[in-house]
């Protein structure tokens, strides 16, 4: 399946925002799902051979959707060079999704590029009568992107930076810990260590938490068994495919030490 690039624009120096025309993905109703995309428009390109997984960030029309990417390596650098009008191979929508509360106060916790799935999630939650507080952490002000959009889609935006250049100074977990009693549920996406810390806060407070995890993927559809996550079940630890049974998991069930290896 091919999708045409409607627009591809830099966001600051480290990020890009791309809108693609693809009715199959744009018809998605749930928040938290992802898709796989080739990083070059050349149909015969074999390097890199694998597609890259990205969260569906926002759905703009019945035909188009957008995603936000952080430039971290060769694939995402190539993605930033793709031009409007070109076609990229896509597979999706993929994976499971956040189970959204209705008429409740909820928190979204995003670390760095973990903001990507939160835009659609915040919109859907508000559509269901939720009060949405978005905690958004980064190293410094330049990591906190799309602030104007975010202000509009949640009830309260709480920026947190490690160097204090924007919002609260420190780690995103500090304000969450302070205010955890306000929320019926937390939805989190970000680095594994941050997710583990947010999960600890939730388990102490008895608050439900869903986390969106990031594993290296080859197929994205459940065939290669390359993306497994250790999940604790009554019968013991079982390995689940991040691309099919995830990327969203109940935080309480994740084997966090195994995930935060290395």
């Amino acid at each position: 399946m091919n999708a045409q690039i409607i627009s591809n624009a830099p966001v600051g120096t480290k990020f890009g925002y791309m809108e693609l025309k693809c009715p199959e993905i744009a018809s998605e109703k749930n928040a938290g799902r992802f898709f796989m995309v080739s990083v070059r428009s050349d149909e015969k390109s074999i390097d890199p051979i694998l597609k890259r997984p990205f969260a569906i960030c926002d759905i703009k029309s019945p035909d188009t959707f957008s995603f936000l990417y952080m430039i971290v390596g060769r694939g995402t650098s190539l993605l930033a060079k793709c031009r409007q009008g070109e076609y990229l191979g896509v597979t999706g929508p993929l994976g499971n999704y956040f189970k959204l509360e209705k008429n409740a106060s909820v928190a979204l916790a995003a670390g760095g590029i973990g903001i990507a799935p939160m835009i659609m999630t915040a919109k859907k939650l508000r559509g269901q009568g939720c009060r949405v507080t978005l905690f958004y952490g980064g190293r410094s002000a330049s990591d906190i992107i799309m602030r104007d959009t975010l202000e509009n889609i949640c009830d309260e935006l709480v920026p947190v930076t490690e160097d204090g250049s924007l919002g609260i100074k420190g780690l995103v977990t500090a304000p969450i810990k302070e205010r955890i009693s306000e929320f019926r549920k937390v939805y989190a996406c970000g680095p594994n260590r941050m997710l583990m810390a947010v999960n600890d806060i939730c388990s102490e407070a008895g608050t439900d938490i869903e986390v969106s995890l990031d594993e290296h993927m080859a197929c994205g559809v459940g065939a290669c068994l390359g993306c497994l996550v250790a999940v604790k079940e009554k019968t013991g630890t079982v390995m689940k495919r991040c691309c099919v049974e995830g990327p969203v998991f109940n935080g309480a069930k994740i084997d966090w030490p195994a995930l935060c290896r290395g």
């Binding site: 015969k44 074999i46 390097d47 051979i49 597979t91 197929c219 559809v221 065939a223 390995m239």
Partner: protein, 305 residues
Amino acid sequence: MSERLKINLCGVEFNNPVIAASGTFGYGLEFSRFTDLNKIGGISVKGISLKETYGNKMPRIAETASGMLNAIGLQNIGAEKFISEKLPFLKKYDTRIIVNFWGKTIEEYTETAAILDKADIDMLEMNISCPNVKEGGIAFSSCPEMTEEIVKAVRKVVVHKPLIVKLSPNITDIRLFAAACEKCGADAVSVINTLLGMAIDVETMKPKIANITGGLSGPAIKPVAVRMVHEVKKTVRIPIIGMGGIAFWEDAAEFFLAGASAVQVGTANFRDPDSCVKISEGLDAYLERKTINNISELTGKAVLY
């Protein structure tokens, strides 16, 4: 479906000679939302063993130049569960079902093969690139004598279905192994499995996969695979299923010219779930252009100097 692409492989009729390779296509159903399984000649399912197997530690995959390394560890749901839970779904499609299987001892191989021989499937494909735990973990594919022993033992219990043996490229002379398979009654050989490789992340200074080494696949290995198909073709008369790095119809055509009677497509399915279908269509157009009536006429037709 074009008559030009129909083949008979060891008595089994295929609508086209393009097969999805084991381990890259799950149990078939995973890709059914993204490609038309009826247009794929056959599906070789993820390697099945006697008992459910959980596989290796994470990370299990790493991308490399025009290819990837994997050390999945042959995770699968086991023979009985495959037959009861996955096979009924696959049977709904007009595609041939090849069951790839493996074991850690000769007994595990023969028990698994005996179960599969009675199942409603088309062919068995034996992966011999596995360590023999009774021989100190030396792979069944590492010397022709061990290959002979395992093929002989499995041939005895596989009486209803064609038996394909999948050869490892991690040896010095693949011809000896192909000859051993033919001698011990194999109906066909699959050439090749992945090449042993390794990659290190220079920032963390750690190997990119937890198993340290893994199997290299994808376009990076294609010239090695084509060479091995050519060598095997000159050695045995049983049909060869060629694979290793096929991404486009031109790659597949190369394997036929080198001596393959059918091809498998693995890693390319990750790049594009429609790869198998597009390769069939491309081959068909190529045959028409070259006024060749059937793909089987292409086998081994490389014009040598």
